[in-house]
């Protein structure tokens, strides 16, 4: 059949000639190839000390954002938990008391906000669902740990550092 793409190559297997059967030239060229690699820069990144550069839209560890006055944005509406396909997010809402206005932006806030990092698939749907721009997956890789319970991240690990710090 006629080749339309013109990419087809006819491969003919000729019997090996003397030098090919002697193997030594082939071995020498193989040695030359490996020697080329010997002087090449290693591709390894020594991970904990040195980190690979992520793309701009990399989705890593979640962070709960604060607004420009340092108040927590989250109002515990639960849309993120609802949108989460892995059911990794859970929260308990609470009412803002008098004197807490500098901590929480609106009258309702999340007293407990937990994400199970073993369940999370880092799809970013919580980020998209959030109407208050309170959660972003802009962090690093989730670090390793020994116990399952230590992978349930609470507010202590998720909320951004206060502004004055």
């Amino acid at each position: 059949m006629e080749s339309l793409s013109n990419k087809r190559k006819l491969i003919e297997s000729k019997p090996l000639n003397f030098w090919e059967r002697a193997y030594l030239p082939a071995i020498a060229s193989g040695l030359a190839t490996t020697m080329k690699h010997f002087f090449r820069k290693p591709v390894t990144i020594s991970y904990p000390e040195e980190k690979r550069e992520f793309s701009e839209n990399f989705r890593g560890l979640h962070s709960l954002k604060r607004d420009e006055n340092g108040k927590e944005r989250c109002t515990a509406c639960g849309l993120c938990a609802l949108s989460c396909p892995a059911e990794a997010i859970t929260m308990i809402a609470a009412e803002r008391q008098k004197g807490e206005e500098h901590l929480y932006r609106e009258e309702k806030y999340a007293a407990v906000y937990e994400i199970n990092m073993l369940r999370c698939i880092f799809c970013g749907l919580c980020e998209e669902a959030c109407p208050k721009e309170a959660i972003y997956l802009d962090g690093d890789i989730v670090p390793a740990d020994y116990l399952r319970k230590d992978f349930i991240y609470g507010k202590d690990k998720l909320v951004e550092a206060p502004l004055n710090q």
Binding site: G30, M35, T44
Partner: protein, 351 residues
Amino acid sequence: MESFDIIFKCALVVVIFLISLVVAMYSTYAERKIAAFFQDRIGPNRAGPWGILQPLCDGAKMFLKEEIIPTNASSFLFIAGPSLAILTACLGSAVIPWGQSIVIGGHIVDLQVTDINVGILYIFGVVSLGVYGVMIGGWASNNKYSLLGAIRAASQNISYEISMGLSIIALLMLTGTLSLKEIVAQQHGWHWNVLTQPLGFLLFIVCAFAETNRTPFDLPECETELVGGYHTEYSSMKLGFYLFAEYINMFISSAVMVTLYWGGYNYPGMDWVLAHTGPTLGPLIGVAVMFAKIFLFIFFFMWVRWTIPRFRYDQLMDLGWKVLIPLAIANIVLTAVFSSYIAPLIVSLFK
């Protein structure tokens, strides 16, 4: 024999033993590091600066691992196997001349443990004993894979010993002596035997790869088919001894190749250096040159390991019996014809 000589020989034995162990130890590190460089990686770099404490960690790990002797194994032979392997690996270093005669405190001494007049035969004897360690270990394990690995090792070593011996015969026809000291002394300056015996050297190095069970001849221990081969059942330092013996063998066979073909401690311009540095420092430079050559060979062993895939078993036997042995015999005939007819002819032409 003076007491100084006896003390010096004892010290030399200890030093050479230590050097072979340290070189073998750091060969494991070099192997991993060089493998990494060939594969565009970094290699072990966590234990100490650049990972140079890695062999010590590996050694400590080997000693601390649980020691298992299988119930149905013959326990005496099971222990004798690795002991024999490492013993025979260390024995070979006794006859290798590491340097010229050296003057220490007014005494002239040789940098060689013993100069027996059948040095090469001794090396061959020790090398052929090496297969017993593997064979006994594989057989005593009472395990199919171990036995298969041991049988492969035995048949491989026996096949390649023949062509190794034949490739040496051509060399001996030129040197006229079996003493390693004299063979090295004949290669003074740049008159290295590899220049007159290139084919012999090629045969010898291929056989050396086979004798040390290095890739592409590492069939006795191929993980893919034999789950480790003859040392499948071994654990702890007994396994360590087997692995260690391989590296010592590599060091000793590199030393033998350097001694026989690459001029040992000789290097071009050595007379000039010797005249300018004195009778103590000069020979030590020769020793350094010898070790540099040995390390180049060890590097070559590793370079080949990370380049060439393993032979299939029938290819291995084909190469040994149908290629190397006829070539070695042809080399003997060529050498004989050349040295007894052609060389005198050329000499008479130039007179």
